[in-house]
């Protein structure tokens, strides 16, 4: 295992809080979240942003939870800009006001990503577990009017809304962004609990690709539309986080530094915190970042595969979840000996009705359950 790296990270994802007014059925944050008391303070984040810039990081992504739940968010934005970073905020817009938006822009916010759950208000509120949809549309008007702020609408899709993709794209278009991103639910964290109710059918996915292609043509030159295909139906796995410890670091609300946001499910992982260590040391030297860096850990069929520098063996967390071995080839890969297990999961998920469980901070089991089918 190497303890040195020549790679330079480009992105820092900061989950500045796990507090969130939404209770999305597809939340991919870990099952056990951190409490507000554990959140690191403004001064620590400010130091970390400078360490990130010193490491060569360019993009800072402020996310959560809902980043607006932090009252010092504008200070964090300003600290990031002072360090020379490009500042992106990923938000539900709950907690946003005209004044607050202006304060964030004045502090140097470059880009805002607003999530959209559905084209239909009642449905959108159902997937979010909160009355959020109308507020989002209202806030989108304010965001659209900002002359120096890039605006992306993220549409999160799954079996329950994928048939309305065309309407969702039209709604997103009317909100006035430069970019629309279609993201299939990723089955980690809480979302894994609801996989049986959320996994789309193959027919839905095939149809959605036609809708996407038509929309891309129609919007060309006006709105950049990009889509992430669901890997359960892919031929090859996703190049998860651009390769383990190759491009990205993630810091959770308590300051733990992870190579990806669900890495905590892999047994034996030890995560350093920014309270004790410099970010550069963590990137270069920590055991968690070196665990799957490079190719030495790979098994067959990855080891001899000519795609190993394309997708890096796929997702370590998915290998852990489905195969029970974090060193295995991602079972989303059609070359994986466990690929049929994933296909079986998809088929059986579609064969039975299922309930959805809504995410509530602190509650890991026995949440409110709502029947959908």
């Amino acid at each position: 295992m190497s303890t040195e790296t020549n790679t330079q990270p480009l992105s820092l994802v900061c989950e500045v809080t796990h507090r969130c007014p939404l209770h999305c059925v597809y939340c991919s944050n870990p099952l056990v979240m951190q409490s507000p008391q554990e959140e690191i303070d403004t001064a620590t984040w400010t130091r970390v942003f400078q360490e990130a810039a010193d490491l060569g990081i360019v993009h800072l992504h402020l996310t959560g939870g809902e980043p607006l739940a932090r009252t010092d968010l504008a200070e964090l934005v300003a600290a990031g800009r002072d360090a020379g970073l490009y500042i992106n905020m990923i938000t539900s817009a709950l907690g946003l006001t005209e004044q607050r938006l202006q304060a964030l822009v004045d502090a140097g916010l470059d880009h805002i990503q607003l999530s959209l759950q559905d084209a239909d208000e009642a449905m959108a509120n159902q997937w979010a577990g909160a009355r959020a949809h109308a507020k989002k549309l209202e806030m989108a008007k304010l965001i659209k009017a900002q002359p120096n702020l890039a605006f992306t609408v993220n549409i999160v899709v799954h079996r329950q809304n994928l048939d309305r993709l065309e309407e969702m794209i039209a709604l997103a278009e009317s909100m006035g962004p430069e970019r629309i991103e279609i993201a299939h639910v990723q089955y980690y964290g809480w979302a894994l609990k609801n996989r049986d109710a959320l996994l789309p059918t193959r027919e839905q996915v095939v149809h959605s690709l036609q809708v996407l292609e038509a929309a891309q043509k129609r919007l060309s030159g006006r709105i950049h539309l990009q889509a992430v295909v669901p890997d359960y139906y892919a031929k090859y796995p996703k190049a998860c986080v651009g390769g383990w410890a190759q491009q990205l670091l993630l810091i959770d609300p308590a300051g733990r530094v992870l190579p990806c946001h669900s890495a905590g499910i892999i047994p034996g992982m030890v995560f350093e915190t920014v309270l004790n260590r410099d970010l550069g040391w963590i990137w270069r030297e920590s055991s968690a970042f070196n665990r799957f860096r490079g190719e030495d850990w790979m098994q067959e069929p990855c080891r001899s595969c000519d795609r190993k520098e394309v997708d890096f063996g796929g997702c370590r967390c998915q290998a852990m979840q489905i195969v029970g071995d974090a060193d295995a080839t991602d079972p989303a890969c059609s070359l994986s000996p466990h690929h049929r297990d994933l296909v079986h999961i998809a088929e059986s998920a579609l064969s039975r009705p299922s309930d959805m469980v809504y995410r509530i901070l602190g509650a890991v089991s026995q949440d409110s359950i709502s029947s959908l089918e």
Partner: protein, 92 residues
């Protein structure tokens, strides 16, 4: 895009110098290292020059045999950025 179109950077896209030698174009989904032709073209994107003006300004700095290539590079570079929503065009 026509020769009379005036390109300008879209909101949330900005140029930042990283060192004396290197500048980057920061955009929501990443960055573009500005070297060679990319740097020369983008330096002329100021919200007032047309595509035609940018092309001829660059052509004046090079011998005539390079002019056709410069015109095609300007067009493909600006179109590429426009397709990624990094550059907007207004008409003169």
């Amino acid at each position: 895009m026509t020769s009379n179109s005036i390109p300008q950077l879209a909101r949330g896209c900005r140029i930042q110098s990283r060192s004396e030698e290197e500048a980057v174009l920061l955009i929501p989904e990443g960055l573009l290292r500005l070297k060679g032709a990319a740097a020369e073209i983008l330096a002329l994107v100021d919200g007032s020059r047309t595509v035609a003006a940018i092309t001829s300004d660059l052509q004046q700095q090079y011998p005539p045999e390079a002019h056709a290539q410069i015109a095609s590079e300007v067009e493909s570079f600006l179109t590429g950025l426009h397709n990624r929503s990094v550059l907007l065009f207004k008409e003169a």
